[in-house]
Symmetry: C2
Subunit: 208 residues, 2 copies
């Protein structure tokens, strides 16, 4: 599949990519740390650059907007704080994942990360960034449903994407909008609401 | 059921209540109008008082905090913009209600109302206010499920409260967090996800 010319160019490209990837990772890690300390509103690119040991221009070269960098750092915090579980059943996986989501949302850091994300205006570049990051996050969560399909816990014909969106939505709504505690019993009630339908054998339809 | 003394006191109490209720209603309507024009951040109590034709002190006497007044006005906007439908089936009712929710969220006013609500800090008085207002809103929505139980669309044993929270949550999550359009097909996918379970006859359980 690789043409000769490309193969020849590869070593140089890799070296460049390697350094670029290291800078990216350092800046992202520094942004995550700064978000933990300063929150979204206090975030300074100068502080991120100093912490990452790079020039500010290196940051602006790699991220088109500060919003884009911050959005990526927020998603890194999700992945860091909300593990993708493998507990042997779909119900156990979803309860573990959504409980961790609820717990993170109810920490000052999680609250700041999500509310500042919601408060960010919808510029076209921010929308592209957020859509890409959510797609990536959903890919991380896909194994939960892939394993469930293998075990027969979840009909392959069912839309796992809608299920995971709705489940996360239920947790966010309870914590952020209703301002209620997310208890273990709330999580299992939401999971059972959605999983019950998986009991139906055809996995289609509903009252029409 | 009414004692003589209470019956005697009623006319005066009604008169006082009447004026107080009129002032409340005028202030609330004025706040709704000001929210429409100025949004949450530009809201001035002086402007609300002028529009309602009352003294500012009349507002502070009736609402403990400005947040409380604004929260109540936001819920008035929900009720004004998101009707409680009666379309003859649970699926049709939920699709109509959630479509209206999605449409309102995607207007500049709806977006401002919800995001400023999420941005309001969780003071104890604000929490009490929001919990009370959501309880009231859920009471308004209850007929949807009460009629569904009568028709046999929804098993009485199922938790309608968890269902409505999760459904609204799915719409909010899509619009506010994922920053995706809420299309009619998204609404029906979320509704079908939740309604399928209602097909099960026992309405209990799920994979455990």
């Amino acid at each position: 599949m690789t043409k000769k010319g490309e193969a020849k160019a590869a070593p140089k490209a890799r070296r460049t990519g390697g350094r670029s990837a290291r800078v990216r990772a350092a800046v992202l890690a520094a942004t995550v740390e700064e978000l933990k300390i300063a929150g979204h509103h206090g975030l300074s690119i100068a502080a991120v650059a100093a912490r990452a040991g790079v020039a500010e221009t290196s940051i602006y070269r790699r991220w088109k907007t500060v919003e884009g960098l911050v959005a990526e750092a927020r998603f890194a915090l999700f992945s860091e704080n909300i593990a993708v579980p493998d507990r042997g059943s779909l119900r156990a996986d979803l309860i573990a994942f959504l409980s961790a989501t609820g717990r993170f949302l109810q920490t000052p850091l999680g609250w700041a990360v999500i509310t500042s994300s919601i408060a960010t205006p919808s510029s076209p570049s921010y929308l592209r960034e957020v859509h890409g990051l959510w797609n990536k996050r959903f890919l991380e969560l896909q194994p939960i449903f892939a394993r469930a399909v293998e075990r027969g816990d979840w009909p392959e014909t069912r839309d796992a994407q809608v299920a995971i969106e709705t489940l996360i939505g239920g947790i966010y709504f309870r914590a952020l909008v209703m301002r209620q505690k997310v208890r273990r019993s709330d999580v299992s009630a939401i999971v059972d609401l959605v999983l019950n339908h998986a009991e139906t054998t055809d996995g289609q339809g509903g009252p029409r």
